[in-house]
């Protein structure tokens, strides 16, 4: 991955930190204090000779180019006063022209937008007023006058302008003010033009990694929490549900209530909750349902394992229940021994260090950067509810045969071509799905929209509903036509709808399209990853003819689609 760094100050330390931390990245450091020139050269698809390219293989090299895309990621970190001239006057307490400032912001934004065409994604650091600058004091937020007011306005304008591109993300500088004791290093500034502290560079580096993880669908999606002294104060087995501490007029109880509110808030952005606790299930559910101050209720949890078994095994079972990989899980427990056990047994599960005192729980939770994601779709917002519906489906399935159950849930499938309304969710699904994924092709939203717009290519989305609720857009299939052949490029289905034969419908549907287009065959080539065994299992049972990793259906035969779907093609 090639990452370009453009800044008005010397951020070479950041470049070195990233490079030496992770050999996957090649860092292109543009000369500092030449922001406009650097952006123009990126727009022109050119890395100037003055760039340092830090490659893990051989140290510094000059001017290496030649890939299709100039940069996979561009990180742009500037101070407002150095790229917006009129704003510098503002810091010198001169009278300023707000329109002129905003025009300069517009020009700067246009340059970034142009540079975006040569980059996979762009991260732009938001602007802050220099932290030591008192500004106009009590008037500093006065409309169109104070420095704070003007910088806020500039950030809003920048954000509005850059929203035209789906692959530009504005990184909020403010969050580092909370994370770092020292932002600046004045001695390094006067000696090397390195303005920021090592501490800040470290935090920014971590933030870049977390954002890259988010872009590639590696953000965490499930929080597994313990109960006693994690979700509430006290030991349920000792004090009974009436005696546990939540809310009330007790500061510890208030802290647990706040922690629960914070957990609940995360469900609104698509993070699932599950319980893993050493307790008697009946007693724990009684506490959850009966305690008047409980914020989280039974329906807020996608699943649980409340028993006396090993927590590592319980977490494996929870992951199976919700069809997520262990790398999607965060485990929160007040007990360091349990945390160590899970961290050692299941290294893919993220087990954050947890504060000793409940008053810090909310802060610890909401400052986790592992949920970083490029977007939050409507489906995400409904996801927690969907998993509760899924739990109910599972309960019904226990009483019927599989086929009877599939008929009983009254599935409705909507098939639609990729369009501006569904492309964000489609990008998410393509980038997040690991298990039922033919090729695990990862691309930014812009990249795959560009791909789908080519005349020989097509991308179809599948939305699944049943009598329990709407599972949303949970399937994507894309293909390209070559001669008389349909080549399936992506075949992706969310784990949320696995076990409902949706994959048979998806395959049948494209075979039908291939027949209508009078093609000879449909070809699917499986690309193995360490996680996509489920799609291979399906392909092997699908009736397609196998030739090494390629599966073929000849179009002179019909593919049988099960009859329990009500299909609508939009």
């Amino acid at each position: 991955m090639k990452i370009g760094l453009i800044s008005d100050t010397n951020i070479d330390i950041l470049a070195r930190m990233i490079q030496n931390d992770n050999n996957q990245y090649e860092i292109v450091s543009f000369p500092f204090a030449q922001v406009y020139q650097s952006l123009i050269s990126v727009s022109n698809n050119n890395i100037p000779n003055s760039c340092y390219i830090n490659s893990s293989e051989s140290g510094y090299k000059i001017n290496k180019t030649g890939d299709n895309k100039l940069l996979d990621l561009l990180f742009l970190w500037t101070r407002a006063e150095s790229v917006i001239n009129e704003f510098q006057k503002c810091l010198e307490f001169k009278e300023v022209d707000i329109d002129k400032i905003l025009n300069e912001v517009d020009e700067y934004s246009n340059l970034i937008l142009e540079a975006t065409n040569s980059c996979g994604n762009v991260f732009v650091m938001s602007w802050i007023k220099p932290l030591y600058h008192f500004g106009y004091g009590m008037s500093d937020n006065k409309f169109n006058f104070g420095i704070s007011n003007i910088i806020n306005k500039m950030n809003l304008r920048l954000s509005e302008n850059l929203s035209k591109s789906a692959n530009i993300f504005i990184i909020d500088f403010q969050k580092f003010l909370y994370k770092c004791k020292n932002i600046y290093n004045h001695k390094m500034w006067y000696t090397t033009k390195t303005l920021y502290s090592l501490e800040l560079f470290k935090k920014v580096k971590e933030d870049i990694y977390s954002s890259i993880n988010g872009l590639f669908g590696k953000s965490r999606r499930l929080i597994v929490v313990d109960l006693d002294n994690t979700l509430w104060g006290g030991i349920l087995g000792d004090v009974g549900w009436e005696g546990i501490k939540i809310g009330g007029h007790d500061y510890i109880g208030e802290a647990f209530a706040d922690f629960q509110k914070a957990l609940k808030s995360l469900t609104n952005r698509g993070i699932l909750l599950a319980i893993c606790s050493k307790n008697y299930e009946k007693n724990a559910l009684e506490a959850i349902n009966k305690h008047p101050e409980m914020i989280l209720k039974e329906e807020d949890f996608a699943t649980w394992r409340i028993n006396w078994n090993d927590k590592a095994q319980n977490i494996i079972d929870i992951a199976k229940d919700v069809n997520l990989g262990l790398s999607s899980i965060v485990f929160i427990d007040d007990n360091p021994a349990e945390r160590n056990r899970v961290a050692e047994a299941l290294p893919e599960v993220y087990v954050p260090e947890w504060p000793d005192e409940p008053i810090y729980y909310k802060e610890a939770l909401l400052s986790l950067d592992c949920f970083n994601a490029p977007s939050v779709s409507k489906e995400d917002r409904k996801r927690a509810k969907m998993f509760v519906q899924e739990r109910k489906r599972r309960e019904l399935s226990k009483t019927l045969s599989h086929e009877e159950w599939l008929k009983s849930i009254e599935m409705e499938i909507e098939i639609e071509k990729l369009n501006s309304a569904n492309q964000t969710r489609t990008a998410q699904l393509l980038n997040k799905t690991n298990q039922f994924n033919l090729t695990t092709r990862r691309m930014s939203e812009k990249e795959f929209v560009d791909w789908a717009n080519q005349p020989q290519n097509c991308m179809l989305t599948f939305r699944v509903k049943d009598k329990f609720g709407d599972s949303g857009l949970t399937g994507v299939i894309s293909y390209t036509i070559e001669d008389k052949k349909m080549k399936v490029v992506d075949f992706v289905m969310s784990c949320r709808v696995m076990g409902r034969d949706i994959e048979k419908l998806m395959l049948g549907q494209i075979i039908k399209i291939a027949q209508e287009l009078k093609l000879e065959k449909v070809e699917l080539t499986y690309r193995k990853t360490d996680r996509n065994q489920p799609i291979l299992d399906f392909l092997n049972k699908s009736g397609l003819q196998k030739n090494n990793d390629t599966y073929i259906w000849k179009c002179n035969e019909d593919y049988k689609i099960p009859d329990y779907f009500n299909v609508k093609v939009l």
């Binding site: 010397n10 070479d12 330390i13 070195r16 930190m17 490079q19 030496n20 931390d21 893990s56 140290g59 290093n185 001695k187 390094m188 000696t191 090397t192 390195t194 090592l198 470290k202």
Partner: protein, 96 residues
């Protein structure tokens, strides 16, 4: 006050986060810093001096190492890890 050697160890560890695998420093007396054959380039050296200064400052010792470096380090106190450690230890004694 912690021992200078421990402080040096921490500073080298911190600096090595930015050094390539080929140029990691070792906390051994002969490791060159501001002398020919050093694994540090100018930014690396300044960063290292800055880290040491900050660590000394956290221990309550204000010392302008960057100033010595800017004057060309006439006595070669920053030539190697060994000479630098010795210099810092002597400074500590003087300040006591």
């Amino acid at each position: 006050m912690r021992k200078i050697n421990q402080l040096m160890e921490e500073a080298i560890e911190e600096l090595n986060n930015q050094q390539s695998n080929y140029n990691k420093l070792e906390n051994v007396p002969v490791e060159k810093l501001n002398s020919e054959g050093s694994k540090l380039d100018s930014l690396g050296l300044l960063t290292f001096i800055n880290i040491i200064e900050e660590k000394m400052s956290n221990e309550g010792i204000k010392i302008d190492l960057m100033g010595i470096l800017m004057e060309g380090d006439p006595n070669g106190v920053m030539a190697t890890v060994g000479s630098f450690t010795k210099f810092l230890e002597e400074k500590m004694k003087d300040l006591k």
